[in-house]
């Protein structure tokens, strides 16, 4: 009898809690993994809503969302896919905005391997250079633009290995299987410094800007937690977190 009462009590309290605090399902580009975790923690503390993140490649999310994936908000790694979803009426009109502008880094897990000017690329003494699949991942596209601009595309082509997302690309380099690779600065950078290895911060003029857009999806239209999350993402508190991972943030 008393056990039954406890169970009923628990059930009632969880129903009560969920009536106030909502949940938002967010599809998050892999490069934004670390800041998303920090923002989600802070968001839950400040608003009581829970943000549940699914991490992956932007191209894959686009295909999933078009086929009915249950996401409320999409934090893409580019501005192309959100715009396309908007044109296809899969989003809440007017909800699209740039939440971060990414930076590209040439990174190695070995300290001292990559120099501050990226001359290691021209020396071409490595066995494998990891990049993200340029067809699916914007950081991979930016990496190929850098190689083109430096006139090294043909020279390094036989040495390129591709990760399916920027996270897998980093894993190839972190495990030492590729000596170096183009990753998102946010993956190897925290609080103003490199967290491991050595890196060249690629100058922005060597590639098109990596504008990362967010959008509320049609599925999240009537979910107050989705709007709350996007508002939170625009707040100075979230901006500070995003910047601490090496992104640039425009004023909203």
């Amino acid at each position: 009898m008393s056990i039954l009462r406890i169970v009923l009590g628990l059930a009632a309290s969880s129903v009560a809690a969920s009536a106030v605090a909502g949940e938002v399902q967010v599809a998050v580009a892999a490069n934004f993994t670390a800041p998303m975790q920090a923002i989600a923690r802070q968001f839950e503390q400040d608003t009581g809503h829970k943000a549940v993140a699914a991490l992956g490649a932007t191209g894959q999310f686009y295909a999933q969302i078009k086929n009915g994936a249950p996401f409320d908000v999409f934090l893409a790694a580019d501005d192309v896919r959100p715009a396309r979803l908007e044109a296809e009426r899969q989003t809440v009109p007017g909800s699209r905005f740039t939440y971060a502008t990414g930076s590209l880094a040439l990174w190695s897990a070995q300290p001292g391997y990559v120099d501050g000017q990226g001359a290691v690329l021209k020396q071409n003494a490595f066995r494998h250079l990891a990049i993200a699949n340029p067809k699916a991942a914007p950081y991979g596209l930016a990496a190929t633009q850098v190689l083109d601009k430096l006139g090294l595309a043909a020279a390094v082509k036989p040495k390129i290995v591709q990760g399916q997302s920027i996270a897998q690309t980093q894993q190839f380099v972190a495990s030492g299987n590729a000596e170096l690779g183009f990753v998102a600065l946010s993956q190897v950078y925290k609080d103003g410094q490199l967290s491991a290895g050595s890196a060249w911060l690629v100058p922005g003029e060597l590639h098109d800007p990596i504008k990362q857009d967010a959008v509320i999806l049609a599925k999240g239209k009537d979910n107050p937690a989705a709007q709350a999350f996007v508002d939170y993402l625009k707040s100075p508190k979230a901006a500070a977190i995003i910047k601490s991972y090496g992104y640039q943030v425009a004023a909203h």
Binding site: G59, R127, H128, Q162, Q164, Q168, N177
Partner: protein, 225 residues
């Protein structure tokens, strides 16, 4: 046909990978299966379980460990470097090693079943006729176990063609070297090239159906081969 040269390269690479893997597995798997079928050793259980592990482990586990073990800091990676072979991830040889591990139970288990079904009597009969154990294996066991070898070969080949997670994690997506059909399909889907994805994916469905059809009709009329 909307398949381009990179699609054809992926198909050709997949055929090469599956053929070489199947050949190696028949060579490696036969002694293992023979031992498992005949032994009374207490190690039979543990060895059988290790062989069956790839059946239940997610490919991500295999891919992750292969990447670490064959990488420059891993034991296999250290050994291959010491031998002057470099490291195996991102190479065709690395994919072959991964595929052999991944498809091992699909070859060993049918062979083991075939060997067990033969039983001890034909072997004893051959021994009384003074056949050496070697002669006995080649002129009695192999012919009797032929259906088992065919099943093992078909399953090993088909399962390697269907490999995805392991290749994704240790391959590095290099055209002509590590980009097999399953990864090529994934690429097309991610890049929204659905027409090409449909051709390749449809081809895979047709191929797999034909293989399984072959397997199941053969089982019914066992003497056709």
């Amino acid at each position: 046909m909307p398949l381009d040269s990179s699609d054809l390269a992926a198909i050709w690479l997949t055929i090469q990978l599956a053929s070489l893997t199947t050949l190696l597995l028949l060579l490696i798997g036969t002694p293992i299966a023979w031992w498992l079928a005949r032994t009374r050793s207490p190690l039979k259980g543990p060895v059988g379980a290790v062989v069956a592990l790839p059946l239940v482990l997610p490919p991500t586990v295999l891919g992750f460990y292969l990447l670490v073990v064959m990488g420059p800091q891993g034991p296999v990676g250290q050994a291959t470097q010491a031998l002057g072979l470099g490291v195996l991830p991102f190479t065709f040889a690395g994919l072959v090693v991964g595929s052999v591990v991944y498809s091992l139970p699909f070859v060993v288990q049918p062979l083991q079943n075939a060997f067990e079904a033969i039983g001890a009597r034909p072997l004893e009969a051959a021994a009384t006729l003074r056949a050496s154990p070697r002669d006995c294996f080649f002129s009695v066991v192999l012919p009797l176990a032929r259906p088992g070898f065919i099943t093992a070969g078909i399953l090993g080949f088909a399962h390697t063609v269907g490999e995805f997670g392991v290749v994704l994690m240790i391959g590095g997506n290099i055209e002509g070297r590590t980009r097999v059909v399953s990864v090529q399909i994934y690429d097309h889907v991610e890049a929204l090239e659905y027409a090409q994805a449909h051709w390749l994916a449809g081809g895979m469905v047709a191929f797999s159906f034909v293989v399984l059809l072959l397997l199941y009709t053969r089982r019914r009329g066992a003497t056709v081969w």
